[in-house]
């Protein structure tokens, strides 16, 4: 009992998230049709939560330990805080997106549920990031999934909206089932659900490698579904296209970040033998985790990039682009070094900024012209210069060309990869970048080179939206030429409890 009370201080951000979830429900109930207080409460809640995260940024401890055990259910460390902060940041951005989204305005009566479920997602993601126990991992993923299933169909406005939601539920249900199976196998052979203990047992006991590999791959199915890597990516384009764009953006950034944080913790804790002085990890010999991830990574980025070539819908295009990016991000894990981990953290901040930016512009354009089809984007360069130039910058950054932030993200990934002597993989990834140029630049072609058949009156951006846009555009450019603070921040927060 004492332990539980002691542990509460470590989960202040989660408690804060849970309280604000309830606050939103109550305010929505009390205020009835008046929805104007919900968004400000969201922002306040996120800022408070963010404050608690920063407050305990440098903590390094287990929470909820049992009596006879030196490991706990949750591990509180700066690595987790880093990703939680990233999630709070993207949530704040998403709330602002929501305020100016026409799609959500149409379903205004459901705004209370909408925000409640976002808090549900946040809570799920927070626990995913800090979970050190297979059961907590599973519960956190389910909490995240159930909230996002509903959110994907929240507007009930169009058929594709409901379709997205249903597809998400089916794919999600299957993959979490597979994951649970993997967890049960791992529990069966080790007798524990704590990943730190599992690591110890895998190192010390005679266990068949094949079974460990099987269970790891099954567990990976659940995580792979969240980060949308091939072959668990099938839901991504449909859900991204069907869901309201605010949720699409949120899924592509926040829930991916949580998935990657979980994957890193799970891999680093469960399968690592020791860490060398130069920061590279030694994997236990039972399992060839690296080869598996290499295959997944190359498959994912190639599939994502090639499928994106044929897309004519901006949301689908960005969906495939986010699949390809999941492939690049896996490269950081494949490096199996602290450097690779740092590279992924750097990449994620940049990816969050540029991807949210791209979705924001797509949303603002859709508000005006009512379409996300590339054919309708023709000639928009003339009618909406501010929006389209920003979109252009985000596209360039997604390619990874200097002097944008995307280049720095990729550079760090490749630095880590080449330092682990995986030149061939780096080369394949770079070839993939060349393929990706074609579809990103195609967007630019539609915007600036083609001319529109229809007459569209020039439109600009409202001041608040312009400010938000600048908040996303400026770092995309600045971080490309001056990235010291970002790298320092990633380095500062790289401590992962355990190793």
């Amino acid at each position: 009992m004492n332990q539980i009370v002691d542990s509460l201080q470590y989960i202040k951000p989660e408690i804060s998230a849970a309280i604000f979830l309830v606050v939103i429900v109550i305010v929505d109930l009390v205020m009835g049709k008046n929805k104007k207080y919900l968004s400000p409460i969201m922002i306040i809640g996120l800022l408070v939560t963010g404050f608690f995260i920063i407050d305990q940024f440098k903590f390094s401890s287990f929470a909820f330990m049992s009596e006879n055990n030196k490991y706990g259910l949750l591990s509180i460390d700066s690595f987790g805080s880093f990703f939680k902060l990233l999630i709070v940041f993207s949530s704040i951005i998403i709330v602002f997106f929501t305020i100016s989204s026409d799609e959500i305005k149409k379903a205004k009566e459901r705004l209370g549920e909408y925000y409640t479920l976002i808090w549900g997602m946040i809570l799920g993601m927070f626990f995913m990031i800090i979970a050190a126990d297979l059961i907590v991992i599973y519960l956190a993923i389910e909490l995240l999934s159930l909230s996002s299933y509903v959110l994907a169909g929240i507007t009930k406005d169009t058929l594709r909206n409901s379709e997205a939601s249903l597809k998400y539920v089916i794919y999600g249900g299957v993959s979490s089932g597979i994951m649970l199976f993997g967890i049960s196998i791992l529990y069966g052979i080790t007798g524990t659900t704590n990943i730190y203990e599992i690591n110890g047992l895998l190192q010390s006991q005679q266990i068949q490698g094949l079974i460990v590999t099987l269970s790891a791959i099954l567990i990976f199915a659940g995580i792979g579904f969240k980060i949308s890597v091939a072959p668990f990516h099938f839901w991504t384009p449909d859900v991204y296209e069907g869901a309201p764009i605010t949720i699409t953006a949120y899924l592509s950034v926040a829930s991916k970040a949580a998935g990657f944080a979980l994957l890193f913790r799970f891999t680093k804790i469960t399968f690592i033998d020791s860490i060398n002085a130069d920061g590279s990890w030694n994997i236990i010999s039972l399992i060839d985790w690296r080869s598996f991830l290499i295959i997944i990574s190359i498959l994912t980025m190639t599939l994502g990039n090639f499928a994106a070539l044929w897309q004519n819908n901006m949301k689908r295009l960005l969906a495939y682009s986010s699949i390809a990016h999941a492939g690049y991000l896996l490269l950081g894990l494949i490096a199996f070094s602290n450097e690779g981990m740092m590279a992924v953290m750097i990449y994620f901040v940049i990816y969050a900024i540029m991807n949210l930016g791209a979705f924001f512009v797509v949303m603002l354009i859709a508000n005006k012209i009512g379409s996300e089809e590339l054919d309708d984007y023709k000639g928009l360069g003339k009618t909406a210069p501010v929006l389209t130039v920003s979109l252009g910058i985000f596209m360039i950054s997604l390619i990874g060309l200097p002097p944008t932030a995307g280049f720095i993200g990729k550079l760090y990934l490749f630095l880590a990869l080449i330092n682990s002597n995986m030149i061939l993989i780096a080369f394949i990834a770079l070839l993939n970048t060349v393929v990706s140029v074609y579809y990103y630049v195609r967007v630019l072609k539609y915007l600036f080179i083609d001319s529109s058949e229809k007459e569209i009156a020039p439109f600009g951006v409202t001041i608040p939206n312009l400010i938000l846009l600048l908040i996303l555009v400026i770092p995309t450019l600045i971080l490309g030429v001056y990235f010291t603070p970002l790298v320092e921040f990633a380095k500062y927060s790289i401590t992962l409890l355990g190793f």
Binding site: G279, N338, F414, L430, V434, V437, I449
Partner: protein, 534 residues
């Protein structure tokens, strides 16, 4: 003068101009044009000032102390941890005899290209903003002494070029623009990989005695800086330097463009507007050969020596193939584009000789070819503006109708052929002298002389078909040169004639650097072999 950051001013002046242009209202067409002209004009003046203060006796190449107008600031500095070293990247600019020539070329050609853009009417603001961004990127490449900085400028060039071809180009502009983009980016990834490989192979000792991985090109040229275990270290038993060299070479060769990576060039040239063709042929192609000379040669000297014959061979193929392809063209602009392929072959051949005469010839050829093709593309542009066709067989007898224009055409054509007294001659002779002197590539050189013959063939044949003979009725209305066209052609003609008669004007700047690089390459073998034995 010593401490004035003239190079930064030179490369970032266009950025200031770009910001001003973007701030101007849309309908100020005249102001935008004049602003660009003034900025590129100031750049020419700055380049001349640099020449004026340039010390001929300093060689540069691998010696930091003999670079001039050096600016070195710490740009990125990230302290290390137990498992990750300190990271530092410098903002490191400096020029030697090779870069100073190319800076002069860039500023002159950009200024002329601004004049050539005078008739652009479609979204003028965007055009000149991108034009100035391109200007910054090009100059940045020629003055960077840090690989990272070099790469940033190298890539920065892509996007403005894509739009300049894609928006303001001809009917198949989209295809040409994306082809250019993809091809160049493919080259860039090779460069990026080698850059990262080199980064992890060598360390630089800082002032405080600590050692850090480095992107500093000059530090990378010193074999003593390499770690035994570095991927691209000459000391590494299974070293990958050979593969890295070829990768880097391909990266640069795409830009030259070297056969068989040249296919983007004719498309890009034909579709690009005149001014952009001028920049493309006049400056961009030189970046490839400049990169080889500045990075590949001094960082991998021992492999350069091993592969010199192949470089010469590809030079030869470029010369002959380009000439033959040019001969077969029916489109005037395509013909000039292929002649560029042929002429860049001389640069490769001259570099492959690794001799003073050959490399001097190569660098001079870069400059001369820049000026001559700039003029040739302007010539094509002038006739296209009036007739809206580039079909060679559609013309005939234009000399009667446009005598002054044809006079300038003769200067440019004969310079391209290599007629004595004009600038092209000097550089080709130097290339041949140098290449013939190197026994290794002597046979190649002898075959390459065929290129002169072929060059004269396609040029004179084209001249005959377009300018001689009887004038067709439909061209009876054509007018001779306008004032702006004079402004473009006269300076270029003067340069071509002056350098044909008195090439020392340019040669004096580069001689110390060329000597330095030749000496460095010759000594490299000894240093490298002594290291690997011990």
């Amino acid at each position: 003068m010593e401490n004035f950051p003239i190079l930064s001013l030179l490369i970032f002046l266009p950025i200031i101009g770009m910001v001003l242009i973007l701030a101007l209202p849309k309908d100020k067409d005249k102001t935008i044009k004049w602003l660009t002209l003034v900025i590129t004009g100031i750049q020419v003046i700055l380049a001349v000032i640099i020449l004026f203060f340039f010390n001929f006796s300093l060689g540069g190449i691998n010696d930091p102390s003999s670079f001039q107008f050096v600016e070195k600031l710490r740009w990125i500095e990230i302290s290390g941890l137990a498992w990750v070293g300190k990271i530092k990247i410098d903002y490191f600019l400096g020029i030697d005899g090779i870069s100073v020539v190319l800076i002069l070329l860039t500023t002159i050609v950009t200024f002329i290209a601004t004049l050539a853009s005078w008739n652009i009417s479609k979204s003028l603001k965007g055009y000149f903003a991108l034009f100035l961004l391109l200007d910054t990127a090009m100059l940045g490449v020629f003055v960077s002494l840090d690989f990272f900085l070099f790469y940033v400028f190298w890539e920065l060039m892509l996007l403005p070029m894509y739009f300049l071809i894609g928006v303001w180009g001809g009917p198949r502009r989209e295809y040409a623009a994306i082809k250019f983009f993809l091809y160049t980016l493919l080259g860039s990834i090779f460069i990026l990989l080698v850059m990262i490989g080199l980064y992890f192979s060598a360390t630089e000792t800082l002032v405080d005695g600590s050692k850090v991985f480095t992107f500093n090109l000059l530090a990378l040229m010193d074999p003593a800086n390499y770690n035994v275990t570095g991927i691209l270290s000459p000391l590494n038993p299974n070293n990958l330097r050979f593969i890295a060299y070829i990768a880097l070479f391909i990266g640069f060769a795409i830009k030259i463009p070297m056969f068989p990576f040249h296919t983007w060039l004719p498309d890009a040239h034909v579709e690009a507007p005149t001014a952009i063709s001028v920049i493309l042929a006049g400056i961009l192609l030189k970046m490839g050969t400049y990169g080889i000379l500045r990075i590949s040669f001094p960082i991998f000297p021992e492999i350069t020596q091993q592969l010199a014959w192949y470089i010469g061979l590809f030079g030869l193929i470029n010369i002959i193939y380009g000439a033959l392809a040019a001969m077969a063209q029916k489109d005037f602009k395509r013909l000039i584009a292929y002649s560029s392929v042929s002429h860049m072959g001389y640069v490769l051949l001259g570099m492959a000789s690794l001799s003073t005469a050959g490399i001097t010839g190569a660098v001079l050829q870069m400059f001369n070819h820049g000026i001559i093709t700039a003029m040739l593309f302007i010539i094509v542009g002038i006739i296209y503006d009036r007739t809206h066709t580039r079909e060679i067989n559609a013309f005939g007898g234009l000399a009667n109708q446009m005598p002054v224009y044809t006079g300038f055409v003769m200067v440019a054509f004969f310079a391209a052929i290599g007629l004595p007294g004009l600038s092209g001659f000097i550089s080709e002779v130097l290339v041949f002298v140098g290449a013939f002197g190197n026994e290794l590539i002597r046979v190649l050189t002898i075959i390459a002389t065929l290129g002169i013959l072929l060059g004269a063939g396609y040029m004179l044949w084209a001249f005959q078909r377009i300018y001689l003979g009887t004038l067709k009725d439909k061209w009876k209305e054509l007018t001779d040169l306008t004032f702006i066209e004079y402004c473009m052609l006269v300076p270029l003609t003067i340069i071509i004639i002056v350098l044909g008669v008195y090439p020392s004007v340019i040669l004096q700047f580069m001689s110390a650097s060329v000597n330095a690089i030749v000496k460095f390459m010759a000594n490299a073998n000894i240093i490298h072999s002594s290291i690997s034995t011990f």
